[in-house]
């Protein structure tokens, strides 16, 4: 694997680490299986790309993309809470609606950002090779978001949110408004995914209406993968595991792309993903079996 391919895997892994944070909040913290992600990722890209092209500065554009993502999460939560639509179905409805909305926002299926000023443009003046810029910038973003996320989950409100997902009856008995927590959590989750989409568009040179396909699978694979390779006993570890899982996933893909010598090709990626997720799911069992053996000996 070349240095550029390796850095590329890290860069994409970091970006999808943000998606994994979002998936962690919906699937793990709130226990709310949410597929909105497949729509909120391109939503973030569509909003920021359209605004940048229209002449707004990248910071405002990215901020608005985050807000738009949060709104998408709210819609799914409201469909579930107010209209009593099953969570999975509610999220699918928002996801397909977002496809049309993203097309409307962009006015066409693809908005190009090549050559436009993005959040990364000021960094290009620093003089580093271009393939170092995005990974370094994204390390910063992911670290900041991770710290905020950890502090939030350890706060009074964050604790109430975790209780909402784990034991809603008990949470209500403690005076927690579980509906508020679901609304808030879904908004935060999709806001982070939209941020990832926005940054992806800015680093890849375009927003495309099809770019949300499979984002949820990747996010889930990252969360599960992270849980498999490290302990997630505390919130700190669980959040770090999301990024670790995401980077491992990207390195695995880079490996598949660069493993010509064992005959793997890009078209085998879906198989590699399936094997990876399957491995990640059985890994905890293997771990506990190993531990049990150790205890016996």
């Amino acid at each position: 694997m070349s240095l550029i391919a390796f850095l590329g895997a890290i860069e994409t892994g970091l970006l999808f680490g943000l998606v994994a944070f979002g998936v962690f909040i919906s699937f793990r913290v709130l226990d709310f299986p949410d597929l909105t992600v497949d729509g909120s990722f391109p939503l973030g890209a569509a909003v920021s790309a359209s605004m940048i092209v229209a002449g707004y500065d990248p910071w405002t554009s990215t901020l608005l993309a985050i807000i738009a993502g949060g709104a998408a999460g709210l819609v799914t939560a409201l469909l579930n809470i107010k209209l009593k639509i099953l969570h999975l179905l509610a999220s699918i409805l928002t996801m397909i609606a977002l496809y049309s909305i993203n097309l409307r926002i962009m006015g066409k299926p693809n908005v190009a950002l090549l050559g436009d000023d993005t959040l990364l443009t000021p960094l290009e003046a620093v003089g580093l090779p271009y393939y170092w810029i995005a990974p370094l910038a994204f390390v910063l973003v992911v670290v900041v978001v991770a710290i905020l996320l950890i502090l939030f989950l350890k706060s009074e409100t964050g604790l109430a949110m975790r209780a909402t997902g784990a034991n809603p009856r008990m949470a209500r008995a403690q005076g927690v408004s579980t509906t508020m927590m679901i609304l808030l959590g879904m908004a935060v989750s999709n806001a982070m995914v939209a941020l990832a989409g926005s940054l992806f568009a800015q680093s890849q040179g375009s927003a495309d209406v099809t770019m949300g396909v499979g984002v949820i699978v990747v996010g889930l694979a990252s969360v599960i993968g992270g849980e498999a390779v490290m302990s997630t006993r505390t919130i700190l570890l669980a959040v770090i595991a999301c990024v670790v899982g995401s980077i491992f996933y990207r390195l695995a893909i880079a490996f598949a792309l660069n493993a010509d010598f064992i005959g793997l090709k890009a078209q085998d990626l879906n198989l590699v993903t399936a094997v990876l997720v399957a491995l990640a799911i059985v890994m905890p069992q293997i771990k506990s079996n190993l531990k049990a053996k150790k205890r016996l000996s």
Partner: protein, 264 residues
């Protein structure tokens, strides 16, 4: 103080399985009363507790908690006044959270929650002191996950959580029923001590008539969604299980069919 006025609750109204669970029950519990509640299956014990906590909305009638009409409030908006320990040790705590996180959740019962750290240093000292008196060594396991604790330990922590903050009424829903006899006795004794020390107003549902008479200051028996009898003070002193049965027959003109009440 609790004031319940002529409440009716009907489940599955208009269907073949319609169940008229509360039939015009009225009850006044002054501050400091420790009421035990008995009744056969389907008598309305759980429905009464759920109606007070807000998990069930009453069809008609009103419920006042500490002079405030809470009839239309949901559970989370009553939580500041109503604390509760569930029958199932799993239900009252979060197994994925640590002991201190569970307690931190409870210390804010009914309060608004902000973005400050949930587990503060000053709380931790308080948790330790409270846990210490359980005598279970939990004061040294603050960061352990709740899921690692036994049912009895969890129920003891549930009780601590419910009584960490002041409340108008403490609801105990057969909270020792799922425990083995030794642990059940321990949790019951703990309950008694805490209620006495903190001079709490409490409503305890139990499946044992014997226990209902031994604990508390007043005993209610429910039957078909109404109060069959209500004894306290001098009248209650010296009563035995067979006296309760006689009382029931006198008031209702029928014999009690459910033997399970005699056991335990």
């Amino acid at each position: 103080m609790i004031e319940i006025d002529n409440i009716h609750v009907t489940f599955a109204q208009g269907t073949p399985v319609e169940n008229h669970a509360m039939r015009g029950l009225s009850l006044f519990i002054p501050e400091g009363d420790f009421v035990t509640v008995i009744g056969s299956n389907g008598a309305g014990k759980s429905t009464l507790l759920n109606a007070i906590s807000g998990e069930i909305r009453v069809d008609t009638g009103s419920i006042k908690v500490g002079n405030q009409d809470v009839t239309r409030r949901n559970t989370e908006r009553r939580a500041g006044d109503v604390a509760r320990v569930f029958q199932d040790p799993m239900a009252g705590t979060c197994e994925g959270l640590s002991i201190e996180e569970n307690l931190a959740l409870a210390i804010k019962r009914g309060d608004s929650r902000g973005l400050g750290m949930a587990v503060k240093r000053e709380y931790r000292q308080r948790f330790k002191t409270r846990l210490k008196r359980l005598g279970l060594g939990l004061e040294n396991r603050l960061e352990d996950r709740m899921g690692l604790l036994s049912g009895g330990q969890r129920q003891a922590v549930s009780l601590l959580m419910a009584t960490l903050q002041p409340m108008q009424i403490l609801l105990l829903d057969e909270h020792t029923a799922a425990l083995d006899p030794k642990t059940a006795a321990f949790v019951l004794e703990l309950t008694r001590e805490i209620i006495e020390e903190q001079q709490l107003t409490a409503l305890m549902v139990t499946h044992s008539m014997k226990q209902a008479l031994e604990v508390g200051s007043r005993t209610l028996m429910l039957h078909e969604g109404k109060i069959a009898f209500d004894v306290e003070g001098e009248q209650r002193k010296g009563l035995e299980v067979k006296d309760l049965l006689a009382l029931f027959e006198k008031n209702k003109g029928e014999e009690l069919a459910d033997d399970s009440l005699l056991l335990g």
